[in-house]
Symmetry: C2
Subunit: 533 residues, 2 copies
Amino acid sequence: MTPSTGQTHHSLIAGDPVPGTDGTVRAVDPALDAPTGPEFTLLDAEQLACATRAAEEAFAVYRKTSPEARAAFLETAAGNIAQEGEEIVATAMRETGLPEARLRGELARTTNQLRMFADLVRAGDHHGVRIEPALPDRAPLPRPDLRRRTLPLGPVAVFGASNFPLAFSVAGGDTASALAAGCPVVFKAHNAHPATGLLVGRALSRAVAEHGLPGGVFSLVFGRGTAVGQRLVADPRIRAVGFTGSRGGGTALTATAAAREVPIPVYAEMSSVNPVFVLPSALSGDRDALADGFVASLNGSAGQLCTAPGLLLVPEGEEGDDLVSRIRDRLTAATGQTMLTPGICASRLEHEKRLAGIAGVREVGRGRSGEGENAPAPAVYTTDAATFTGTPELSEEVFGAVCLVVRYGSADQLPSLAEGLEGQLTATLRLDAETDTGEDVRELLDTLELRAGRILVNGWPTGVDVGDAMVHGGPFPATSDGRSTSVGTAAVERFLRPVVYQNVPAALQPAPVRVDNPWNLIRRVDGALPAAG
Amino acid sequence: MTPSTGQTHHSLIAGDPVPGTDGTVRAVDPALDAPTGPEFTLLDAEQLACATRAAEEAFAVYRKTSPEARAAFLETAAGNIAQEGEEIVATAMRETGLPEARLRGELARTTNQLRMFADLVRAGDHHGVRIEPALPDRAPLPRPDLRRRTLPLGPVAVFGASNFPLAFSVAGGDTASALAAGCPVVFKAHNAHPATGLLVGRALSRAVAEHGLPGGVFSLVFGRGTAVGQRLVADPRIRAVGFTGSRGGGTALTATAAAREVPIPVYAEMSSVNPVFVLPSALSGDRDALADGFVASLNGSAGQLCTAPGLLLVPEGEEGDDLVSRIRDRLTAATGQTMLTPGICASRLEHEKRLAGIAGVREVGRGRSGEGENAPAPAVYTTDAATFTGTPELSEEVFGAVCLVVRYGSADQLPSLAEGLEGQLTATLRLDAETDTGEDVRELLDTLELRAGRILVNGWPTGVDVGDAMVHGGPFPATSDGRSTSVGTAAVERFLRPVVYQNVPAALQPAPVRVDNPWNLIRRVDGALPAAG
C-alpha cells in the first residue's frame, strides 16, 4: 500500500515502525521541484542503536539458517516486491523522475538479483569449503583433520544509491548479497526516494516475518544523511559497510570505519569517468552507429549511471572530425531528462560550468533542456591531448549527461593517456576487431586492465550484466576496495571470512564441513575439486 | 657465503648491493647480549624509492609470466635457499637464539612453502576464471561474452617477523604468496636477523637472475624500523602490505595505508592470546598428558609463537587444582630459553611484572632462568573468572612463555567468558569427545568461531599446518583483516583483484580467459565447475 500523503511514516526497525525524534523529511518531485508524498520521521543517533542491536541478535539465528531456508526467504522477498511492483514503480517515478520503462527494468533486475542469490545460496559454493583429512602417518609431523568454511561477518550497514532506487537501494545488490552471506542488514534509507524505500522495505520485512526469522534480519532507517550515516558505521555491532554514492561520501565513511576501535571493511562504489578509446581503425567503420551508440550510452537515465561514458578519446583528423560532428548532430536533437534531485542537478550544472571554464576546453554541442525542472541539456565538450594530460580536473567525474572528447594525434599516445587515469569501473576500446590485434593494442589493454574492473571492446559501458562473471568494481577511486565486485554472484564474498576447524569431532562440526556433507556442497578436498555433480 | 664480520653489507635492490646513507646496524646475539656479525648500512627514505621504482618496472613483466615460468622461479628460489641451508641455520642461531632443530624445521617449511606455491601457480586456480559466453538471443537483452580473471595488485611491501626468521621473513609466507600472485616484493629486512636475511635475500635474488626476470621482482631493504617502514607503505608504487609483528606496529602501518591518496590493503598479523578452554569432562582424562601438552605448547620457541596458549581456562575444584598443580610441577622443572632480542625479553618481563601486579592475580609457579642472557623463566599466573572479566588488561597478549590460568565455576560461564574476548588466531577446546556433544558445547563453539580464525579440539594451538585448508588469521586485533589467511595456499588471494573482459576478441584475450585455454586452467563456466581434471 503506497505510503499515503496525509500520514506520517517511520523507520522500520526489525519490522516495526519506529517514529524518529529528529524531525521529518519529504521527497521532492524533481520534475516539479516541489515536495511530494508523505512525511517521514528521522531517527536520532540513539534510536539507530535499536536497529543495530536487533541486527546483532538476529545474526545469531540468521547466520545458521540452512541453504533452503535462506534461499526460500530471498525468493519470498523477491515475490513480495514483485507483488507491489505497480505501486513501487509509480512511487519511484514521482520521487526520482526516472521514466517508467527504466524503473520496470530495474524492478525486474532487483527481483532477479534476489532470486540469483537464492540459487547461489542453494548451491552453496560461497561456503568455500576446503577439507584436508587427517594424515596420521605423515612425516615429519602428522597432519590434523582440517575443515575450512566461510562465516558471515555480522550485521552490515548498507547505504543505497540515488541513481538506482530499486536495484541498488533497499533490496538491491548490497542488501541481497549481504543477506545471502548470512548477514542481517541495517539499511540507511535514501531521503531522495523515501516512499519507494518504505514500500520495498515493508515487502522485505514481510518476508522476514513470513519465514519466522528474527525481525532484526532487516531494518530500514531514516535519518539525516551524514550524521546518522557516520554513527551507523561507527556502531560496534556493524561489521561491514556497503555504499554507493559520491567520492566524498564514500571516503568519509571509509575513514570512520578505519578509525573504529575494531576497524571494519567498507565497500564503497564511488566515482568513474569510464573512458572510451576510439582507435583510428574504428573510424573506418560505421560512424553513424558509433555516434548513435555513444549518445545513447551518455544520455541514458539522464547520464546518471555509474558507468556512463564521460570521456571519449578520438583521433585528430578528418574522420575524427566527422565522428565528432555526427555526435554533435545527435546531441543537438536530444532533450534533457529530469535528474534525480535538484541537488544532483545543481551539482551537475556547477561541474559543467567549471569544465567549460578551463582554458583549452570548448563546447562541441548541446541538446535542449527538458520540459520539467531539473532537466538540463546534455552537452559535449572537447580538448586536445596535451591539455587533458596537463589538467587533472579534466579526469574528474561529472555526474550527468556531460562528456569530454579528447582529440589525440596518434595511437602511440594512448598508453600514456591511459596511464594518467585514476581507477575506473570500466574502460572501453572501439576498434576494428579484424585488424587491431597487434602489440600496440595489447599494450593499451595492459595499461587499462590495471586501472579498471571491466574492459569492453566495441560495446558501451552502461548496462551491467548481473551474473557469475561480472565485475562491477575497480581500483580507487572507482571503489574503496578494488578486490571485489558489487554486482553479480561474487558480491557475496565481500561479507564472508574463513575459519578452519582442526580435529573437531563429527558431532560438533558445523553442517558445511561435516563428514556426511548434509548440505551436499561442492567441497575442495586436498586442494582439488570433485567432479561436477 | 656468510656475510663476513669484517665487511660492511648493504641492501639488495633489484639484485644489486646498494650502500645506505643512514648509518649502520649490527645484529645482537641475544644469548651473549653482544653485537654479532657484520655491519649493515641503512637506506634513507629517498633510496627506498629506487627499490619501489624497480618493483614497479618489474611488475609489468613479472605479472605476465606463464604458470610454468613463475613456478620454476619459485622452485629455484627454494632450491637456492636449501643449498645455503647450513649457513642460514648457523647464522640464524647466532642472531635469534633459536635452537638448531627449530631452525632446521623452519628452513624446511620455508622451502616447502615456496614449492607449494609453485604447485599452486602451475594448477592456476588462483586466476579465479569465470566465463559466461555470449547469449545473443537472451531476452529481454542479449548477454555479452564475459570472461573474468584475477590480476595481481602490484608491488607488495613485506615486513618480516622476528619470531620466524625464515618461514615468515625474507622468503617466508608473505613473500611467497605475493610472488605466486605475480606481485614483486620489496622486503623490509628485520634488523634483528640481518645476516640471515641477506643470505636468504641473495638466494632469492639469484633465482630472479637465473630465470631472466627483472631484478626488481625482489629487493631486500635495510632501514631504521619505523620511519622507513612508514615511508615504504606510503610510497605510491606499493599496492599492498604484508606484516607480522606487534599490534602497535601493525595498526600504525594500517593507518598510514588508509591515509594515502590511494589507500591500499594491509594484511597485518598482530596479537592473539589463543585461549584454551579446558571443559570439566577433560579433567577426567589423562591430566598428566594435558599438563605435558600445555607446557610444551607454552614453552616452545621460548613462548614466542603467534599461537602460543597465553590463556588457559580451568574449572574450579579438586580436579582442576590437580591439573594446575601438575602444570606447576612441569613448569618448575623447565628452563627458560633465549628470547629473540633483548628488546623482546625486556618487554616480556615488563608485561609479566604488570600482570603479576594486578589485584586478584597470583603466581602459580615458575621455572628456572636459562644460562645465557635474555632467557627468563617461564611462568604461570592464575586468577578467578570475575577478576578476569572485570580486568580487560588480562586479555592482552604477553609475548613469551607466560600464561594466565583462569578458574571458572561452571561450564555455563564459558560462553560469556568467550564473548568478552577480542579477535584471536586460535581458540581451543579440551573436552571428552564422546560425551561433550551437547548444546552447551555447541554454544561455546558458536561463540568462539565468531572470534577466531582456527578452532581446535583436543590439540594445542602451536604448530600451524601449511596447506590448502589452513586459516592463520582472525578478527581484529589478531589481524588487521580477518577476511584472509597468511598461511597456506589461500594466502595468494590477498594480492589479487578481479577484472572482467566483455566481448574482447579472441586475439586480445589474456591467456587465462582465452577460448582455447592455453594454460589448461580449471574454469567456471556459467556458474559451474567442470569435471575435475
